[in-house]
Symmetry: C2
Subunit: 612 residues, 2 copies
Amino acid sequence: MTLTPTRHDKTIATVCLSGTLDDKLVAAAHAGFDGIELFEPDLVSSTSSPAEVRKRCEELGLDIVLYQPFRDLDSTDPAQFERNLVRLDRKFDVMAELGVDLILVCSNASADAVADMDDLATQLRAAGELAERRGMRIAYEALAWGRRIDLWQQSWDAVRRADHAAVGLCLDSFHILSRSSTITELGEVPGDKIFFLQLADAPHKDMDVLQWSRHYRLFPGEGAFDLVEFTAAVLGAGYRGPLSLEVFNDVFRQSAPVRTAIDAVRSLGALEAGLDDALPRQRFEAAFVEMSVTPTNLASAEHALSALGFTQSATHRSKRVTAWTQSDATILVTVTTDAPEDDSSAIAAIAFDAEDPTGFAASAEGLNVSALPRVVRPGEADLPAVAAPDGVSIFFVSTAGDDLDWRRDFEPVPPTDVATSAGITGIDHVSVTAPYDRYDECVLFYRSVLGMRTDEVAEYPGPYGLVRSHLLRAPHPSGFGVALDGPLLRRGKWTPGVQTPQHIAFLTDDILGTLSALPADAPVLRIPDNYYVDLQARLDLTDEFVNRIRRLNVLYDRNADGEYLHAYTTVIGSQVYFEIVERRGDYRGRPLADAPVRMAAHVAARRGMART
Amino acid sequence: MTLTPTRHDKTIATVCLSGTLDDKLVAAAHAGFDGIELFEPDLVSSTSSPAEVRKRCEELGLDIVLYQPFRDLDSTDPAQFERNLVRLDRKFDVMAELGVDLILVCSNASADAVADMDDLATQLRAAGELAERRGMRIAYEALAWGRRIDLWQQSWDAVRRADHAAVGLCLDSFHILSRSSTITELGEVPGDKIFFLQLADAPHKDMDVLQWSRHYRLFPGEGAFDLVEFTAAVLGAGYRGPLSLEVFNDVFRQSAPVRTAIDAVRSLGALEAGLDDALPRQRFEAAFVEMSVTPTNLASAEHALSALGFTQSATHRSKRVTAWTQSDATILVTVTTDAPEDDSSAIAAIAFDAEDPTGFAASAEGLNVSALPRVVRPGEADLPAVAAPDGVSIFFVSTAGDDLDWRRDFEPVPPTDVATSAGITGIDHVSVTAPYDRYDECVLFYRSVLGMRTDEVAEYPGPYGLVRSHLLRAPHPSGFGVALDGPLLRRGKWTPGVQTPQHIAFLTDDILGTLSALPADAPVLRIPDNYYVDLQARLDLTDEFVNRIRRLNVLYDRNADGEYLHAYTTVIGSQVYFEIVERRGDYRGRPLADAPVRMAAHVAARRGMART
């Protein structure tokens, strides 16, 4: 990528946001967008006239850059085409009042669509002549489900043949990438014929492309498409208009619009950074994970850590925080009295030991992530921190002995000579429940602010409903993971499980040794016998091995790349538990088929029904 | 249909219900199921041993009729097939402990699936021999996404060739109807070779069949398949086992299981009634719709009705209820002081004037719909009533002057000589918001208890999210409609709109006359000018016509069958409003593209921003 850093105008289609038109305009302006695409139904249902909308946008500092969509322009029936031109002319009236000169015309999806490319070009040219007379321009777009024109190359062919100054292309990343179209031919398109660029990401879905487009689009960086490569190609072809988002998403349609708009502008900021090759590339390791507990949960948290072989290694100089360490794993336990519920425990923070902690924080701020205010006492380290959308605080720290070395605030506890290690070597990942409305925002946050990469996207059934899971990992060599889990559908009143489970997964090189070394009162989660009976039926395992892991309550999975052995503790307080993991070979992701077993076991443990 | 009424055993797969295995068993027993299909993952994650599950089922009066599923039995690799037989044998161990002798083996969906029909039959026969030695039987099922076997006819070919007493068919309505397979050849299958029948309905979806099956299945009578025809064909072929539900549904997976189980058993009751041709076939008309208002809303409700041309025709002899009438439309207005919120208004009841009101109520009770308890004073009519799952009470009444004539409880108000009619002739439909977890249950209720038919299923965008809509209508000549509207996704905290809108749509033969006749202070909802500008651009309408409907705030739609003109009132209290409808020609359904305009106009009216 050799583009010089350019600041592009950022715009958003009103359909991306929830609310009335005014709600949407306020949200877009608040988030810092330069302008909007006006989605026609938002205007039609608005009580404000086009002139009033224009004035409102001016007040808010928003350009109206596109009016959209205009459907079914071409027709095999000449009389119908004439009526369509009249309809277009009426829309030009509205656009003149709005002060916008560009309209999106999408390829005809009806039975009436024109198939002959010369006829289509002739009709486009006639529309271009009308537009020119009105001082307007037409951006023609191939819908992925267009009847005759469903590839961008066809839309370009039509525009090229129409050969009219007022007729150009609209390129939409979804319509192109959902069809796996090549974009190499973009080099043949003169930059000034690309009138508009709409950007949307999407998850992989094996479904009808129209439904996929209308319900599941995401902001760039939240899905599975490579928007950086795509946008670079369009810019490389000479496009100089705004980077504009057009995202139809069922969740965004009903989420608070200001929050969605901030997420949206962050996605374009991250895309720009990607274009400039300026996304964070720092190596970082987890310095610590901070767990908050209420005074009533402190003893069980300390008992669990201690039983798992952790040693209290330091205490905070001024706060009620203790550090527990085992090899490369450090857990801070903070006693809090302002928990939302009395019995609450939570993963409060993750601290990353980075080469340039302040640089990390600065680039986060550049992505519209607010720095967290902190109360720092004289002499204490003022650690840069930001809030992840999942509610976890992210600290950027050093272990270089400088001002950002978090250890400065702690007083070491003299080591005892009792060897307590259970063989835990570090932290594999942290799993948090992403809030339903912010799931995709969380994915973008970890990808853009921390430069993490998706390792696995999956869905699995729990006793109380389906769960979606997205595992992100830090760049090598750290590989530190954050797993976002959350209900596939927003939960209702029937929610007997742990609402927002969180856990810390510790690594060991020898889980059987680790589990064997634990004291008898370690709060290991009891796994039902049925699991082992099924495991042995499914996999070719020796009786000896199965009996051994059964005694230790270790779960097991195997795939072509390797093996994954793991065990859990019971839940500490209301939502946090620990996992101990041994990976053998190159097993990636997590053994999600074990998740329902773990969940049901946690339910049984909570109900006191576990047969111990 | 000439089957004699037979009472079939009713069973349900545990995967249909939310919760741990014990939650599911309790719910199935409570709803009155005779037995269960045990879904293997529910057993694997259970802390109860198979023997304990068997005992628990015995306590609850539940038979375990099927163990399922067993996947990937056949293999192109003989050594792998041998291992698969060992795996099967281990499952037989578990089944012996459970006390179940039938296992579902589904067609192989992996790359290893056997294509040659003779080879497959040989392997099935080998499995049958193993089963016979263990006293077990195998029900072989074609998955709609099986690699080699994906049609029931192929599975029957394999079973026929396997030619083993312990190997029979499992027929699953979803796998068959989703593929639009014919079932006429079922007559060739000996009844005793159909070992099991799984029933599931589903909505029409244009998507990957695996995803459709795993997320969107419904109970019979809730979707778009004809389960009565299908089941009759299977019974006609001689199948004598239970009617068993296997429904994978994202919402049911996370809804209270007792409620879901009752819905499920109702679906089988309605299916049996359909098989016996015993579903309600009565003609009925809407006698009245009852609206409850708080004392503070009474005046605005009365004002609205009065302004729309209704006359107070009667008052209740003992309660604070007044009847308002115009031609065939009667609205009861009940003042309530126990509304959930102070400002609440609601559609409390719909009364149907039926030939045999008590027969209606009795068949409802046969479908596990509880009768509503009523406080009846001496001399008052004791009207049979049931609760619809959407919270509306359904009364079955007469107008024959007998004990069930609801008018007995009312004292007529002497008519005044002022002619007030605005030309409203009756009630077209009532629209209610179906609770998210009970949407499909509502559909089944109106179809099975009242014999209503689906007129239109659709989705439309509102300012605060997507809405799904299902319009049901009574048999001719009444055609009375109930529209179930509800959010496509469960709403979160951003919910500035009316949460659970409800409305009553009145019919007129001349909406322009009706609207023109209304007094100046009638609470007609102001429709924005933008709507009319767009309407005129879209449709070939004269300026005169558009100006006229614009002045009257009438919305307009046209399709190939006819026209639909309609207007709305503002919201009375917190959630109820009225619609006035004129249908021209054979326009079916509702003009849902107008819905977002109506919603935004209601928001504007509520915010006092309407430009009047």
